[in-house]
Symmetry: C2
Subunit: 168 residues, 2 copies
Amino acid sequence: MNAAPIRILGLDPGLRRTGWGLISVEGSRLSHVAHGVISPPDGLSLAERLLWLFEAIEGVIAAHGPHEAAVEETFVNANPQSTLKLGQARAAAMIAPARAGVPVAEYAARYVKKAVVGTGAADKSQIAFMVARLLPSSGSPTADAADALAVAITHAGARRSAALRSVA
Amino acid sequence: MNAAPIRILGLDPGLRRTGWGLISVEGSRLSHVAHGVISPPDGLSLAERLLWLFEAIEGVIAAHGPHEAAVEETFVNANPQSTLKLGQARAAAMIAPARAGVPVAEYAARYVKKAVVGTGAADKSQIAFMVARLLPSSGSPTADAADALAVAITHAGARRSAALRSVA
């Protein structure tokens, strides 16, 4: 296989902070492209805050032209208000790539941890550590951006497994 | 006051069915403009389903040019998965008007029931009955569309109260 590199956008949605991370994948080689955190200003209404997230993600997509996107499946929290907020942020994060024609894959949090750290019970610092190892040029991204990069790395692994299966 | 009529878009979001209803308000007079239910086809991914809702609501906004929008506040369900789904649908329903520059108001379900039926414990059939009385030309909208029209009616009442207060 001599496929052209593809760019994957990972997203870790939240109403207060949405992490994003872009990687490039060429065969089994991953490289860091960019990452960041979107924080809508305080004092916005919910609708304005969702719009802010949506448009910021559209901006990232316009700037970097990802081919595929991946989002963590919202983990259903013990606190229903938190679950609701996460769901709303996640919808904003999913509509933006969908609208740009970028397919959006979803991965359970445990699956992401297992794919990146090797155990579904990994904590945030272990994820950040492994992201920094797998993507040395990423520097030291904050936890939100590291989680987003971890989702992108997970998607790269999942699509590679699928490609190998289809060749076998 | 001799204000021009304003059009209010009410939304009752759901991943399977999103009701919408448009009314026109001139002073204390309400009239029905249009209503409908958006049902994304089966077999779509979550991202595709959210995009479908978003674009359908954009279509309603483009067709009818509402000045303001109103959405029911998501009621936090006993079932966290339902809460999550509702939150995602609601985000799609809020980003579309926000993006079109249409302000989005939010009302608790109990407030809507109290405003339209007179009691916060009203059931769906009582809401549909009162919507049909207040907007005779609406025919017999389905429950989802009736709920959406009820939110629009609630917003019309709330903004009129605010206007009367600011005059007093």
